[in-house]
Symmetry: C2
Subunit: 310 residues, 2 copies
Protein backbone atom coordinates (compact mmCIF):
# COMPACT_ATOMS: atom_id res chain seq x y z
CA UNK A 1 0.00 0.00 0.00
CA UNK A 2 1.16 3.55 -0.68
CA UNK A 3 2.64 5.37 2.33
CA UNK A 4 0.92 8.67 1.52
CA UNK A 5 -2.68 7.54 2.02
CA UNK A 6 -4.58 5.52 4.61
CA UNK A 7 -5.09 1.91 3.56
CA UNK A 8 -8.38 1.09 1.86
CA UNK A 9 -10.75 -1.49 3.27
CA UNK A 10 -14.08 -2.73 1.93
CA UNK A 11 -16.67 -3.97 4.44
CA UNK A 12 -19.67 -5.92 3.10
CA UNK A 13 -22.75 -6.34 5.27
CA UNK A 14 -21.73 -2.97 6.70
CA UNK A 15 -25.30 -2.09 7.61
CA UNK A 16 -25.64 -5.10 9.88
CA UNK A 17 -25.10 -5.40 13.62
CA UNK A 18 -21.42 -6.33 13.38
CA UNK A 19 -20.77 -4.23 10.27
CA UNK A 20 -22.00 -0.99 11.84
CA UNK A 21 -19.61 -1.26 14.77
CA UNK A 22 -16.73 -2.51 12.66
CA UNK A 23 -16.97 0.39 10.18
CA UNK A 24 -16.95 2.89 13.05
CA UNK A 25 -13.92 1.20 14.62
CA UNK A 26 -12.01 1.02 11.32
CA UNK A 27 -12.81 4.58 10.27
CA UNK A 28 -10.07 5.91 12.58
CA UNK A 29 -7.22 4.29 10.64
CA UNK A 30 -8.67 3.16 7.33
CA UNK A 31 -10.28 4.61 4.28
CA UNK A 32 -13.49 2.54 4.49
CA UNK A 33 -15.90 1.62 1.71
CA UNK A 34 -19.08 0.27 3.30
CA UNK A 35 -21.62 -1.71 1.30
CA UNK A 36 -24.97 -3.27 2.17
CA UNK A 37 -28.53 -3.30 0.87
CA UNK A 38 -29.67 -0.86 3.58
CA UNK A 39 -28.64 0.58 6.93
CA UNK A 40 -25.56 2.52 5.80
CA UNK A 41 -25.86 5.48 8.19
CA UNK A 42 -22.27 6.69 8.13
CA UNK A 43 -22.85 10.30 7.04
CA UNK A 44 -21.09 11.51 10.24
CA UNK A 45 -17.88 9.65 9.36
CA UNK A 46 -15.77 11.60 6.82
CA UNK A 47 -13.48 8.68 5.93
CA UNK A 48 -16.33 6.33 5.05
CA UNK A 49 -17.79 5.90 1.56
CA UNK A 50 -21.23 4.31 1.64
CA UNK A 51 -22.05 2.23 -1.44
CA UNK A 52 -25.56 0.80 -1.14
CA UNK A 53 -26.42 -2.15 -3.35
CA UNK A 54 -27.08 -5.84 -3.68
CA UNK A 55 -24.08 -8.20 -3.91
CA UNK A 56 -26.20 -10.19 -6.35
CA UNK A 57 -26.03 -7.23 -8.76
CA UNK A 58 -23.09 -7.52 -11.21
CA UNK A 59 -23.00 -3.71 -11.41
CA UNK A 60 -22.20 -3.42 -7.69
CA UNK A 61 -19.45 -6.05 -8.04
CA UNK A 62 -18.06 -4.18 -11.06
CA UNK A 63 -18.16 -0.97 -9.03
CA UNK A 64 -16.28 -2.56 -6.14
CA UNK A 65 -13.83 -4.19 -8.55
CA UNK A 66 -12.71 -0.76 -9.75
CA UNK A 67 -10.89 0.01 -6.48
CA UNK A 68 -7.72 -1.84 -5.47
CA UNK A 69 -8.60 -2.42 -1.81
CA UNK A 70 -5.81 -3.29 0.60
CA UNK A 71 -8.24 -5.40 2.59
CA UNK A 72 -11.77 -6.77 2.48
CA UNK A 73 -13.95 -7.86 5.38
CA UNK A 74 -16.77 -9.93 3.90
CA UNK A 75 -19.59 -10.08 6.45
CA UNK A 76 -22.63 -10.10 4.14
CA UNK A 77 -24.53 -13.37 4.19
CA UNK A 78 -27.92 -15.03 3.99
CA UNK A 79 -27.93 -16.70 7.43
CA UNK A 80 -29.04 -20.19 8.47
CA UNK A 81 -32.81 -19.98 8.72
CA UNK A 82 -33.13 -17.59 5.77
CA UNK A 83 -30.96 -19.87 3.62
CA UNK A 84 -33.21 -22.85 4.31
CA UNK A 85 -36.24 -20.72 3.41
CA UNK A 86 -34.78 -19.42 0.11
CA UNK A 87 -32.07 -21.79 -1.12
CA UNK A 88 -31.66 -20.11 -4.52
CA UNK A 89 -31.08 -16.65 -3.02
CA UNK A 90 -28.70 -18.14 -0.45
CA UNK A 91 -26.64 -19.84 -3.17
CA UNK A 92 -26.44 -16.59 -5.14
CA UNK A 93 -25.27 -14.46 -2.20
CA UNK A 94 -23.37 -16.93 -0.02
CA UNK A 95 -21.58 -18.73 -2.86
CA UNK A 96 -21.68 -17.07 -6.31
CA UNK A 97 -21.49 -13.42 -5.18
CA UNK A 98 -18.89 -14.27 -2.55
CA UNK A 99 -16.67 -15.90 -5.20
CA UNK A 100 -17.16 -12.94 -7.56
CA UNK A 101 -16.23 -10.52 -4.78
CA UNK A 102 -13.05 -12.43 -3.95
CA UNK A 103 -12.13 -12.63 -7.64
CA UNK A 104 -12.68 -8.88 -7.98
CA UNK A 105 -10.48 -8.23 -4.96
CA UNK A 106 -7.73 -10.42 -6.39
CA UNK A 107 -7.80 -8.93 -9.88
CA UNK A 108 -5.57 -5.92 -9.10
CA UNK A 109 -2.58 -8.13 -8.32
CA UNK A 110 -1.95 -6.43 -4.97
CA UNK A 111 -2.70 -9.59 -2.95
CA UNK A 112 -5.20 -7.97 -0.58
CA UNK A 113 -6.00 -9.30 2.86
CA UNK A 114 -9.44 -10.93 2.75
CA UNK A 115 -11.22 -11.71 6.03
CA UNK A 116 -14.23 -13.93 5.47
CA UNK A 117 -16.90 -14.24 8.16
CA UNK A 118 -17.32 -18.00 8.20
CA UNK A 119 -19.24 -19.78 10.94
CA UNK A 120 -19.13 -22.63 13.42
CA UNK A 121 -22.04 -23.91 11.31
CA UNK A 122 -19.35 -25.64 9.19
CA UNK A 123 -19.13 -28.21 12.02
CA UNK A 124 -22.81 -29.19 11.83
CA UNK A 125 -24.34 -31.35 14.51
CA UNK A 126 -24.01 -33.42 16.56
CA UNK A 127 -20.60 -32.03 17.52
CA UNK A 128 -17.78 -34.29 18.73
CA UNK A 129 -16.89 -34.39 22.47
CA UNK A 130 -14.37 -31.60 21.91
CA UNK A 131 -13.80 -29.13 19.07
CA UNK A 132 -10.32 -27.90 18.24
CA UNK A 133 -8.25 -26.58 15.34
CA UNK A 134 -8.27 -29.90 13.45
CA UNK A 135 -11.94 -30.83 13.83
CA UNK A 136 -13.16 -31.47 10.27
CA UNK A 137 -16.03 -29.51 8.71
CA UNK A 138 -19.24 -31.54 8.51
CA UNK A 139 -22.06 -29.06 7.85
CA UNK A 140 -25.76 -29.92 8.17
CA UNK A 141 -27.26 -26.56 7.22
CA UNK A 142 -27.12 -25.15 3.70
CA UNK A 143 -25.58 -22.05 5.31
CA UNK A 144 -22.83 -24.15 6.90
CA UNK A 145 -22.06 -25.85 3.57
CA UNK A 146 -21.91 -22.47 1.81
CA UNK A 147 -19.42 -21.23 4.42
CA UNK A 148 -17.28 -24.38 4.02
CA UNK A 149 -17.33 -23.93 0.23
CA UNK A 150 -16.13 -20.33 0.40
CA UNK A 151 -13.48 -21.38 2.94
CA UNK A 152 -12.21 -23.68 0.17
CA UNK A 153 -12.23 -20.81 -2.34
CA UNK A 154 -10.37 -18.53 0.10
CA UNK A 155 -7.82 -21.29 0.76
CA UNK A 156 -7.23 -21.93 -2.95
CA UNK A 157 -6.94 -18.26 -3.90
CA UNK A 158 -4.55 -17.72 -0.97
CA UNK A 159 -2.43 -20.73 -2.02
CA UNK A 160 -2.22 -19.22 -5.50
CA UNK A 161 -0.91 -15.96 -4.02
CA UNK A 162 -3.92 -14.00 -5.30
CA UNK A 163 -5.12 -12.94 -1.84
CA UNK A 164 -3.99 -13.19 1.78
CA UNK A 165 -7.18 -14.82 2.99
CA UNK A 166 -8.43 -15.87 6.39
CA UNK A 167 -11.77 -17.53 7.15
CA UNK A 168 -12.83 -16.61 10.67
CA UNK A 169 -15.37 -19.07 12.07
CA UNK A 170 -17.77 -16.96 14.14
CA UNK A 171 -19.66 -18.40 17.11
CA UNK A 172 -22.96 -16.92 18.35
CA UNK A 173 -22.69 -13.12 18.62
CA UNK A 174 -24.73 -11.35 21.34
CA UNK A 175 -26.76 -9.30 21.68
CA UNK A 176 -28.09 -8.64 18.19
CA UNK A 177 -31.09 -6.33 17.75
CA UNK A 178 -34.62 -7.68 18.08
CA UNK A 179 -36.57 -8.38 14.94
CA UNK A 180 -36.37 -10.87 12.09
CA UNK A 181 -32.72 -11.72 11.42
CA UNK A 182 -33.13 -14.94 9.47
CA UNK A 183 -30.99 -16.59 12.14
CA UNK A 184 -31.94 -19.84 13.82
CA UNK A 185 -29.88 -18.65 16.81
CA UNK A 186 -31.86 -15.40 17.33
CA UNK A 187 -33.03 -16.62 20.77
CA UNK A 188 -29.46 -16.11 22.09
CA UNK A 189 -29.86 -12.36 21.70
CA UNK A 190 -33.57 -12.21 22.49
CA UNK A 191 -32.77 -13.38 26.03
CA UNK A 192 -30.88 -10.13 26.70
CA UNK A 193 -33.69 -7.97 25.32
CA UNK A 194 -36.38 -9.77 27.30
CA UNK A 195 -34.63 -9.58 30.67
CA UNK A 196 -33.67 -5.95 30.14
CA UNK A 197 -37.35 -5.20 29.46
CA UNK A 198 -38.46 -7.37 32.40
CA UNK A 199 -40.45 -9.49 29.97
CA UNK A 200 -40.96 -13.27 30.08
CA UNK A 201 -39.16 -15.39 27.46
CA UNK A 202 -39.23 -19.01 26.44
CA UNK A 203 -35.86 -20.47 25.39
CA UNK A 204 -35.74 -23.41 22.94
CA UNK A 205 -32.88 -25.02 24.92
CA UNK A 206 -32.49 -26.51 28.41
CA UNK A 207 -30.87 -24.82 31.43
CA UNK A 208 -27.81 -27.04 31.17
CA UNK A 209 -27.39 -26.45 27.43
CA UNK A 210 -24.02 -24.95 26.51
CA UNK A 211 -22.94 -22.72 23.68
CA UNK A 212 -20.05 -20.63 22.40
CA UNK A 213 -20.60 -16.87 22.60
CA UNK A 214 -18.77 -13.71 21.73
CA UNK A 215 -19.86 -10.09 22.16
CA UNK A 216 -19.78 -7.70 19.21
CA UNK A 217 -17.14 -5.77 21.14
CA UNK A 218 -14.83 -8.80 21.31
CA UNK A 219 -15.54 -9.80 17.70
CA UNK A 220 -14.74 -6.39 16.23
CA UNK A 221 -11.55 -6.44 18.30
CA UNK A 222 -10.63 -9.81 16.80
CA UNK A 223 -11.35 -8.60 13.26
CA UNK A 224 -9.22 -5.47 13.75
CA UNK A 225 -6.44 -7.63 15.17
CA UNK A 226 -6.68 -10.06 12.23
CA UNK A 227 -6.50 -7.16 9.75
CA UNK A 228 -3.22 -6.06 11.35
CA UNK A 229 -1.52 -9.48 11.38
CA UNK A 230 1.88 -9.14 9.68
CA UNK A 231 1.61 -12.49 7.85
CA UNK A 232 -1.34 -14.60 6.76
CA UNK A 233 -1.32 -18.07 8.37
CA UNK A 234 -0.72 -20.97 5.97
CA UNK A 235 -3.93 -22.64 7.16
CA UNK A 236 -6.57 -20.09 6.26
CA UNK A 237 -9.37 -21.64 8.36
CA UNK A 238 -9.46 -20.26 11.88
CA UNK A 239 -11.77 -21.06 14.80
CA UNK A 240 -12.25 -17.89 16.84
CA UNK A 241 -11.80 -17.99 20.61
CA UNK A 242 -15.23 -17.83 22.27
CA UNK A 243 -16.55 -18.21 25.78
CA UNK A 244 -18.39 -21.49 26.44
CA UNK A 245 -21.47 -20.59 28.41
CA UNK A 246 -24.07 -22.75 30.21
CA UNK A 247 -27.53 -21.24 29.76
CA UNK A 248 -28.46 -21.39 33.45
CA UNK A 249 -25.34 -19.38 34.29
CA UNK A 250 -25.97 -16.94 31.45
CA UNK A 251 -29.54 -16.33 32.55
CA UNK A 252 -28.39 -15.71 36.16
CA UNK A 253 -25.74 -13.21 35.03
CA UNK A 254 -28.06 -11.32 32.67
CA UNK A 255 -30.79 -11.25 35.34
CA UNK A 256 -28.36 -9.92 37.92
CA UNK A 257 -26.96 -7.21 35.63
CA UNK A 258 -30.40 -6.09 34.44
CA UNK A 259 -31.97 -6.25 37.91
CA UNK A 260 -34.51 -8.63 36.49
CA UNK A 261 -35.81 -12.00 37.69
CA UNK A 262 -34.33 -15.18 36.24
CA UNK A 263 -37.76 -16.73 36.75
CA UNK A 264 -38.95 -14.78 33.69
CA UNK A 265 -37.09 -17.42 31.66
CA UNK A 266 -38.87 -20.64 30.77
CA UNK A 267 -36.90 -23.51 29.22
CA UNK A 268 -38.81 -25.27 26.44
CA UNK A 269 -36.15 -27.25 24.61
CA UNK A 270 -36.70 -27.85 20.89
CA UNK A 271 -34.65 -30.96 20.02
CA UNK A 272 -33.39 -29.57 16.69
CA UNK A 273 -32.39 -26.19 18.19
CA UNK A 274 -30.84 -27.87 21.23
CA UNK A 275 -28.81 -30.12 18.90
CA UNK A 276 -27.66 -27.20 16.75
CA UNK A 277 -26.99 -24.55 19.41
CA UNK A 278 -27.17 -26.15 22.86
CA UNK A 279 -24.71 -29.03 22.76
CA UNK A 280 -21.49 -27.13 22.07
CA UNK A 281 -18.61 -28.96 23.78
CA UNK A 282 -15.34 -27.51 25.11
CA UNK A 283 -13.69 -25.41 22.38
CA UNK A 284 -9.92 -25.26 22.06
CA UNK A 285 -8.42 -22.60 19.76
CA UNK A 286 -4.63 -22.68 20.19
CA UNK A 287 -3.94 -21.29 16.69
CA UNK A 288 -6.12 -18.21 17.15
CA UNK A 289 -4.80 -17.75 20.70
CA UNK A 290 -1.23 -17.78 19.38
CA UNK A 291 -2.18 -15.11 16.84
CA UNK A 292 -3.36 -12.91 19.71
CA UNK A 293 -7.13 -13.24 19.24
CA UNK A 294 -9.10 -13.06 22.50
CA UNK A 295 -12.70 -13.69 23.61
CA UNK A 296 -14.51 -11.56 26.19
CA UNK A 297 -12.51 -13.10 29.02
CA UNK A 298 -15.33 -13.85 31.47
CA UNK A 299 -19.09 -14.34 31.57
CA UNK A 300 -19.42 -11.03 33.45
CA UNK A 301 -17.50 -9.16 30.73
CA UNK A 302 -19.44 -10.92 27.93
CA UNK A 303 -22.77 -9.95 29.46
CA UNK A 304 -21.63 -6.39 30.18
CA UNK A 305 -20.44 -5.98 26.56
CA UNK A 306 -23.66 -7.49 25.21
CA UNK A 307 -25.91 -5.29 27.36
CA UNK A 308 -23.95 -2.19 26.36
CA UNK A 309 -25.09 -2.80 22.77
CA UNK A 310 -28.81 -2.87 23.53
CA UNK B 1 -38.44 -46.53 -7.94
CA UNK B 2 -41.58 -48.09 -9.39
CA UNK B 3 -41.22 -51.73 -10.44
CA UNK B 4 -43.21 -51.27 -13.64
CA UNK B 5 -40.81 -48.96 -15.46
CA UNK B 6 -37.07 -48.82 -16.05
CA UNK B 7 -35.31 -46.48 -13.63
CA UNK B 8 -34.71 -42.93 -14.88
CA UNK B 9 -31.21 -41.48 -15.07
CA UNK B 10 -30.10 -38.01 -16.12
CA UNK B 11 -26.64 -37.66 -17.69
CA UNK B 12 -25.18 -34.14 -18.02
CA UNK B 13 -22.27 -33.54 -20.38
CA UNK B 14 -23.83 -36.38 -22.39
CA UNK B 15 -22.41 -35.08 -25.67
CA UNK B 16 -18.84 -35.35 -24.42
CA UNK B 17 -16.31 -38.13 -24.80
CA UNK B 18 -17.28 -39.95 -21.60
CA UNK B 19 -20.96 -38.98 -21.79
CA UNK B 20 -21.47 -40.46 -25.27
CA UNK B 21 -20.21 -43.88 -24.23
CA UNK B 22 -21.96 -43.79 -20.87
CA UNK B 23 -25.36 -43.00 -22.37
CA UNK B 24 -24.99 -45.88 -24.83
CA UNK B 25 -24.02 -48.26 -22.04
CA UNK B 26 -26.85 -47.14 -19.74
CA UNK B 27 -29.53 -47.19 -22.46
CA UNK B 28 -29.80 -50.99 -22.10
CA UNK B 29 -31.19 -50.86 -18.56
CA UNK B 30 -32.18 -47.26 -17.90
CA UNK B 31 -34.56 -44.68 -19.20
CA UNK B 32 -31.91 -42.06 -20.02
CA UNK B 33 -32.31 -38.29 -20.30
CA UNK B 34 -29.16 -36.89 -21.93
CA UNK B 35 -28.32 -33.21 -21.79
CA UNK B 36 -25.48 -31.11 -23.20
CA UNK B 37 -24.99 -27.96 -25.26
CA UNK B 38 -24.27 -29.99 -28.42
CA UNK B 39 -23.29 -33.45 -29.58
CA UNK B 40 -26.45 -35.33 -28.54
CA UNK B 41 -26.59 -37.85 -31.38
CA UNK B 42 -28.74 -40.53 -29.78
CA UNK B 43 -31.53 -40.73 -32.37
CA UNK B 44 -30.77 -44.45 -32.83
CA UNK B 45 -31.41 -45.20 -29.14
CA UNK B 46 -35.14 -45.49 -28.41
CA UNK B 47 -34.79 -45.28 -24.60
CA UNK B 48 -32.82 -42.01 -24.69
CA UNK B 49 -34.38 -38.54 -24.48
CA UNK B 50 -32.01 -35.85 -25.73
CA UNK B 51 -32.51 -32.48 -24.06
CA UNK B 52 -30.06 -29.95 -25.53
CA UNK B 53 -29.39 -26.81 -23.52
CA UNK B 54 -27.04 -24.84 -21.34
CA UNK B 55 -26.86 -25.72 -17.63
CA UNK B 56 -26.44 -21.99 -17.07
CA UNK B 57 -30.01 -21.53 -18.36
CA UNK B 58 -32.59 -21.59 -15.52
CA UNK B 59 -35.16 -22.88 -18.02
CA UNK B 60 -33.13 -26.03 -18.64
CA UNK B 61 -32.74 -26.59 -14.88
CA UNK B 62 -36.50 -26.05 -14.44
CA UNK B 63 -37.10 -28.54 -17.25
CA UNK B 64 -34.85 -31.14 -15.64
CA UNK B 65 -36.39 -30.45 -12.22
CA UNK B 66 -39.79 -31.56 -13.52
CA UNK B 67 -38.72 -35.23 -13.67
CA UNK B 68 -38.08 -37.27 -10.50
CA UNK B 69 -34.90 -39.02 -11.65
CA UNK B 70 -33.78 -42.11 -9.78
CA UNK B 71 -30.17 -41.19 -10.51
CA UNK B 72 -28.06 -38.39 -11.93
CA UNK B 73 -24.58 -38.61 -13.42
CA UNK B 74 -23.22 -35.06 -13.52
CA UNK B 75 -20.32 -34.99 -16.00
CA UNK B 76 -20.74 -31.47 -17.43
CA UNK B 77 -17.91 -29.13 -16.49
CA UNK B 78 -15.73 -26.25 -17.61
CA UNK B 79 -12.33 -27.99 -17.37
CA UNK B 80 -9.02 -26.75 -15.98
CA UNK B 81 -7.57 -24.62 -18.75
CA UNK B 82 -10.93 -23.26 -19.85
CA UNK B 83 -11.80 -22.34 -16.25
CA UNK B 84 -8.60 -20.31 -15.90
CA UNK B 85 -9.42 -18.54 -19.19
CA UNK B 86 -13.02 -17.69 -18.24
CA UNK B 87 -13.39 -17.69 -14.44
CA UNK B 88 -16.89 -16.23 -14.43
CA UNK B 89 -18.26 -18.88 -16.82
CA UNK B 90 -16.51 -21.60 -14.83
CA UNK B 91 -18.05 -20.41 -11.56
CA UNK B 92 -21.51 -20.35 -13.16
CA UNK B 93 -21.30 -23.89 -14.58
CA UNK B 94 -18.98 -25.67 -12.16
CA UNK B 95 -20.46 -24.22 -8.97
CA UNK B 96 -23.79 -22.38 -9.29
CA UNK B 97 -25.40 -24.60 -11.97
CA UNK B 98 -24.07 -27.74 -10.29
CA UNK B 99 -25.68 -26.72 -6.99
CA UNK B 100 -28.96 -25.85 -8.74
CA UNK B 101 -28.94 -29.24 -10.49
CA UNK B 102 -28.37 -31.12 -7.24
CA UNK B 103 -31.10 -29.09 -5.50
CA UNK B 104 -33.48 -29.86 -8.38
CA UNK B 105 -32.66 -33.55 -8.12
CA UNK B 106 -33.31 -33.52 -4.37
CA UNK B 107 -36.58 -31.60 -4.55
CA UNK B 108 -38.78 -34.64 -5.29
CA UNK B 109 -38.00 -36.25 -1.96
CA UNK B 110 -37.04 -39.57 -3.57
CA UNK B 111 -33.39 -39.35 -2.43
CA UNK B 112 -31.87 -39.99 -5.86
CA UNK B 113 -28.39 -41.36 -6.36
CA UNK B 114 -26.12 -38.53 -7.57
CA UNK B 115 -22.75 -39.38 -9.09
CA UNK B 116 -20.59 -36.29 -9.46
CA UNK B 117 -17.56 -36.36 -11.76
CA UNK B 118 -15.01 -34.76 -9.46
CA UNK B 119 -11.31 -34.77 -10.25
CA UNK B 120 -7.87 -35.52 -8.86
CA UNK B 121 -7.39 -31.77 -9.41
CA UNK B 122 -8.76 -31.39 -5.85
CA UNK B 123 -5.31 -32.53 -4.66
CA UNK B 124 -3.43 -29.72 -6.40
CA UNK B 125 0.34 -29.82 -6.68
CA UNK B 126 2.89 -30.69 -5.56
CA UNK B 127 1.38 -34.00 -4.45
CA UNK B 128 2.56 -35.79 -1.30
CA UNK B 129 4.83 -38.88 -1.62
CA UNK B 130 1.74 -41.08 -1.66
CA UNK B 131 -1.97 -40.39 -2.24
CA UNK B 132 -4.61 -42.47 -0.52
CA UNK B 133 -8.19 -42.26 0.73
CA UNK B 134 -7.37 -39.75 3.50
CA UNK B 135 -5.14 -37.36 1.54
CA UNK B 136 -6.70 -33.91 2.08
CA UNK B 137 -7.90 -31.74 -0.80
CA UNK B 138 -5.56 -28.85 -1.53
CA UNK B 139 -6.49 -27.51 -4.99
CA UNK B 140 -4.33 -25.10 -6.97
CA UNK B 141 -6.53 -24.72 -10.06
CA UNK B 142 -9.86 -22.90 -10.03
CA UNK B 143 -11.29 -26.09 -11.53
CA UNK B 144 -9.94 -28.16 -8.64
CA UNK B 145 -11.42 -25.75 -6.08
CA UNK B 146 -14.80 -25.86 -7.85
CA UNK B 147 -14.75 -29.66 -7.68
CA UNK B 148 -13.85 -29.61 -3.97
CA UNK B 149 -16.68 -27.13 -3.32
CA UNK B 150 -19.30 -29.31 -5.03
CA UNK B 151 -17.91 -32.34 -3.17
CA UNK B 152 -18.81 -30.40 -0.01
CA UNK B 153 -22.31 -29.69 -1.34
CA UNK B 154 -22.80 -33.38 -2.26
CA UNK B 155 -21.57 -34.43 1.19
CA UNK B 156 -23.92 -32.02 2.99
CA UNK B 157 -26.98 -32.88 0.90
CA UNK B 158 -26.25 -36.59 1.40
CA UNK B 159 -25.86 -36.11 5.16
CA UNK B 160 -29.25 -34.40 5.19
CA UNK B 161 -30.77 -37.42 3.44
CA UNK B 162 -31.74 -35.36 0.39
CA UNK B 163 -29.62 -37.37 -2.06
CA UNK B 164 -27.44 -40.47 -2.06
CA UNK B 165 -24.37 -38.72 -3.41
CA UNK B 166 -20.94 -39.88 -4.43
CA UNK B 167 -18.12 -37.70 -5.75
CA UNK B 168 -15.90 -39.78 -8.02
CA UNK B 169 -12.45 -38.25 -8.42
CA UNK B 170 -11.47 -38.91 -12.03
CA UNK B 171 -7.82 -39.24 -13.10
CA UNK B 172 -6.65 -38.54 -16.67
CA UNK B 173 -8.98 -40.27 -19.16
CA UNK B 174 -7.49 -41.52 -22.47
CA UNK B 175 -7.76 -41.20 -25.35
CA UNK B 176 -10.05 -38.21 -25.79
CA UNK B 177 -10.66 -36.85 -29.30
CA UNK B 178 -8.24 -34.38 -30.86
CA UNK B 179 -9.18 -30.72 -30.89
CA UNK B 180 -9.64 -27.99 -28.29
CA UNK B 181 -10.94 -29.52 -25.06
CA UNK B 182 -10.10 -26.75 -22.61
CA UNK B 183 -8.06 -29.34 -20.72
CA UNK B 184 -4.52 -28.72 -19.57
CA UNK B 185 -4.00 -32.49 -19.78
CA UNK B 186 -4.95 -32.79 -23.47
CA UNK B 187 -1.42 -33.97 -24.34
CA UNK B 188 -2.17 -37.30 -22.60
CA UNK B 189 -4.64 -38.15 -25.34
CA UNK B 190 -2.82 -36.41 -28.17
CA UNK B 191 0.01 -38.93 -27.74
CA UNK B 192 -2.27 -41.76 -28.87
CA UNK B 193 -3.51 -39.83 -31.90
CA UNK B 194 -0.02 -38.83 -33.00
CA UNK B 195 1.50 -42.33 -32.83
CA UNK B 196 -1.51 -43.89 -34.53
CA UNK B 197 -1.04 -41.37 -37.36
CA UNK B 198 2.74 -41.89 -37.37
CA UNK B 199 3.17 -38.20 -36.64
CA UNK B 200 5.80 -36.58 -34.40
CA UNK B 201 4.68 -35.17 -31.06
CA UNK B 202 6.30 -33.10 -28.36
CA UNK B 203 5.23 -33.97 -24.79
CA UNK B 204 5.38 -31.30 -22.04
CA UNK B 205 6.66 -33.88 -19.53
CA UNK B 206 9.82 -35.98 -19.15
CA UNK B 207 10.19 -39.69 -19.99
CA UNK B 208 10.24 -40.63 -16.31
CA UNK B 209 7.18 -38.56 -15.48
CA UNK B 210 4.35 -40.57 -13.98
CA UNK B 211 0.60 -40.12 -14.04
CA UNK B 212 -2.68 -41.83 -13.18
CA UNK B 213 -4.70 -42.97 -16.19
CA UNK B 214 -7.97 -44.68 -16.92
CA UNK B 215 -9.54 -45.61 -20.25
CA UNK B 216 -13.09 -44.51 -21.06
CA UNK B 217 -13.97 -48.19 -21.11
CA UNK B 218 -12.83 -48.66 -17.51
CA UNK B 219 -14.38 -45.37 -16.36
CA UNK B 220 -17.83 -46.10 -17.78
CA UNK B 221 -17.61 -49.52 -16.13
CA UNK B 222 -16.85 -47.84 -12.79
CA UNK B 223 -19.75 -45.40 -13.18
CA UNK B 224 -22.19 -48.21 -14.01
CA UNK B 225 -20.91 -50.14 -11.01
CA UNK B 226 -21.29 -47.10 -8.74
CA UNK B 227 -24.87 -46.56 -9.97
CA UNK B 228 -25.72 -50.12 -8.93
CA UNK B 229 -24.19 -49.98 -5.43
CA UNK B 230 -26.84 -51.06 -2.93
CA UNK B 231 -25.89 -48.42 -0.33
CA UNK B 232 -24.16 -45.05 -0.60
CA UNK B 233 -20.90 -44.93 1.39
CA UNK B 234 -20.94 -42.60 4.42
CA UNK B 235 -17.86 -40.80 3.09
CA UNK B 236 -19.07 -39.43 -0.23
CA UNK B 237 -15.62 -38.54 -1.60
CA UNK B 238 -14.07 -41.41 -3.54
CA UNK B 239 -10.71 -41.66 -5.31
CA UNK B 240 -11.13 -43.92 -8.33
CA UNK B 241 -8.67 -46.74 -8.94
CA UNK B 242 -6.36 -45.78 -11.81
CA UNK B 243 -3.23 -47.22 -13.36
CA UNK B 244 -0.03 -45.33 -12.51
CA UNK B 245 1.93 -45.06 -15.74
CA UNK B 246 5.48 -43.87 -16.47
CA UNK B 247 5.53 -41.92 -19.75
CA UNK B 248 8.48 -43.81 -21.24
CA UNK B 249 6.61 -47.09 -20.74
CA UNK B 250 3.38 -45.64 -22.08
CA UNK B 251 5.10 -44.38 -25.22
CA UNK B 252 6.72 -47.79 -25.80
CA UNK B 253 3.39 -49.59 -25.42
CA UNK B 254 1.48 -47.19 -27.70
CA UNK B 255 4.28 -47.33 -30.28
CA UNK B 256 4.29 -51.12 -30.21
CA UNK B 257 0.49 -51.44 -30.53
CA UNK B 258 0.28 -48.85 -33.32
CA UNK B 259 3.34 -50.17 -35.17
CA UNK B 260 4.82 -46.72 -34.89
CA UNK B 261 8.27 -45.52 -33.78
CA UNK B 262 8.71 -44.30 -30.21
CA UNK B 263 11.33 -41.93 -31.60
CA UNK B 264 8.46 -39.78 -32.96
CA UNK B 265 8.05 -38.60 -29.36
CA UNK B 266 10.13 -35.71 -28.11
CA UNK B 267 10.15 -34.84 -24.40
CA UNK B 268 10.09 -31.09 -23.77
CA UNK B 269 9.07 -30.80 -20.11
CA UNK B 270 7.13 -27.70 -19.11
CA UNK B 271 7.74 -27.26 -15.36
CA UNK B 272 4.12 -26.25 -14.61
CA UNK B 273 2.64 -29.13 -16.65
CA UNK B 274 5.15 -31.61 -15.23
CA UNK B 275 4.23 -30.46 -11.69
CA UNK B 276 0.50 -30.77 -12.36
CA UNK B 277 0.40 -33.97 -14.43
CA UNK B 278 3.81 -35.64 -14.35
CA UNK B 279 4.61 -36.09 -10.66
CA UNK B 280 1.74 -38.34 -9.61
CA UNK B 281 2.96 -40.67 -6.84
CA UNK B 282 1.71 -44.17 -5.96
CA UNK B 283 -2.08 -44.09 -5.57
CA UNK B 284 -3.82 -46.29 -3.04
CA UNK B 285 -7.63 -46.63 -3.28
CA UNK B 286 -8.72 -49.27 -0.74
CA UNK B 287 -12.24 -47.82 -0.34
CA UNK B 288 -13.04 -47.88 -4.05
CA UNK B 289 -11.42 -51.31 -4.39
CA UNK B 290 -13.65 -52.63 -1.60
CA UNK B 291 -16.70 -51.26 -3.42
CA UNK B 292 -15.67 -53.29 -6.47
CA UNK B 293 -14.37 -50.49 -8.69
CA UNK B 294 -11.51 -51.54 -10.99
CA UNK B 295 -9.00 -49.80 -13.28
CA UNK B 296 -7.89 -51.20 -16.64
CA UNK B 297 -5.75 -53.85 -14.95
CA UNK B 298 -2.56 -53.48 -16.99
CA UNK B 299 -0.75 -51.01 -19.23
CA UNK B 300 -1.43 -53.29 -22.23
CA UNK B 301 -5.19 -53.29 -21.49
CA UNK B 302 -5.25 -49.53 -20.87
CA UNK B 303 -3.56 -48.83 -24.22
CA UNK B 304 -5.75 -51.32 -26.07
CA UNK B 305 -8.91 -49.74 -24.61
CA UNK B 306 -7.67 -46.24 -25.38
CA UNK B 307 -6.74 -47.10 -28.99
CA UNK B 308 -10.12 -48.77 -29.54
CA UNK B 309 -11.75 -45.36 -28.98
CA UNK B 310 -9.74 -43.52 -31.65
Amino acid sequence: MAADRPPRVLVTGAGGFVGQALVRALAKDWNVTATDQTGLGFADLPGVTALPGDLDDPELIANLAATPFDAIVHLATVPGGAAEADPALATRINVAASMALIDAAAAHGNCPRVLFASSIAVFGDPLPAKVDDVTPARPMLRYGAHKAMIEEWIATMSRRGAIRGLSLRLPGIVARPLGPSGMKSAFLSNLFHALKAGAPISLPVSADASCWLLSRHALTGQIQHALALPAAPADTRLNLPALRVVFGDLVAEVAQKTGSAGSLVRYAPDPAIEAAFGRQPPLSTPRANALGLRHDGSLAALVAHALADL
